[in-house]
Symmetry: C3
Subunit: 139 residues, 3 copies
């Protein structure tokens, strides 16, 4: 059993920028030399999320549309009343979507469905530099 | 410290078929011979999810009702405009609900609440064969 | 590689009581003596959730407001028709939000964003005693 850690860094364009980070995670599992285990992908942020999706242009519009319908940017947020940074909706969306995703890997590869990619979802209302953690445990 | 992996396979009836997989996960932890650790249950799919729920007939209707209210099947999805497979809502629901669940186990048993079962949620619009991964790390 | 486990116990005031458990998790990682790994925080319950949020008074109102808008307490729940315990909405909210959160730690500290705290969200309609599990794997 061993532990391995690395990070993924990139720039985002603000909301709702959805980044396909599958190849980054695949690369980190390969570099680790581990064959089988669990990979934890985490965004140390309260205005972004990690999930999986079929990364195709239709859904890259449907996911933001659903977020806007469920947590409208123009709704009243007490966060906005206090801090005036315009991202109350970003925080609420992030708490629902989760900053963390754990993915099994087998024979040196994360096991994903055919149409399933690992994505970072930028929920903040401005462009950001992001640094994700990828922690592996396995053998 | 050791690693152990197994899979769970079953057939679903299409949306929204909710399967109680608690006994499968309990069985895998027992077979592993591990006493204490973390179990990661993952669905390699972009149209299904893993969560927990009190598995009783009322909630087996309430969860689908909430999904339909929040992400209606008949809404417009760009995914549908491009691919015409009728499951745009399935993908968006799955990205919100998460394909992954990590559960602690103690003395050879997953630690769950009295009214808490581990469930697979089929969100796709057709019957599917599913194969979940269960990866354990512990001692 | 080693495994370490501890629990966090507290009392809640009922819905929607949001508890900042960051210091508890930080303390458990320190006591473990582990430097780098993954921490899994889990609530063994079908009416509560674990997530992260910026723990400030505005968002402590915005998150409950969003929950009420998306899963209204007064809506019809089949769970209520059968069990009459008044918490159908609590169960549905919990299944969406997830009972589990995995967080990487580095140099003996969970890695969180500047404005990101780990929180327990009480979704049940009454005051409860809660006991969370925190399971660590790492080195």
């Amino acid at each position: 059993m061993a532990f391995y850690a690395d990070t993924i860094e990139f720039h985002t364009k603000g909301e709702v920028d959805i980044k396909d980070i599958t190849n980054d995670v695949v690369g980190i599992v390969k570099e680790s030399g581990l064959n089988n285990g669990i990979a934890c992908v985490f965004t140390p942020s309260s205005t972004s999320a990690i999930t999986t999706i079929e990364y195709e242009p239709g859904l890259l519009r449907d996911l933001p549309d659903a977020l806007e319908k469920l947590f409208p940017k123009k709704a009243r947020y007490e966060h906005e009343m206090r801090w005036h940074d315009g991202n109350g909706h970003s925080h609420v969306r992030a708490s629902f979507m989760s900053p963390s995703l754990s993915i099994p890997f087998v024979d040196g590869n994360p096991v994903l469905g055919t149409w399933q990619q690992i994505v970072f979802v930028e929920l903040d209302n401005k462009a950001r530099n992001r640094k994700l953690l990828v922690h592996l445990v396995g053998e």
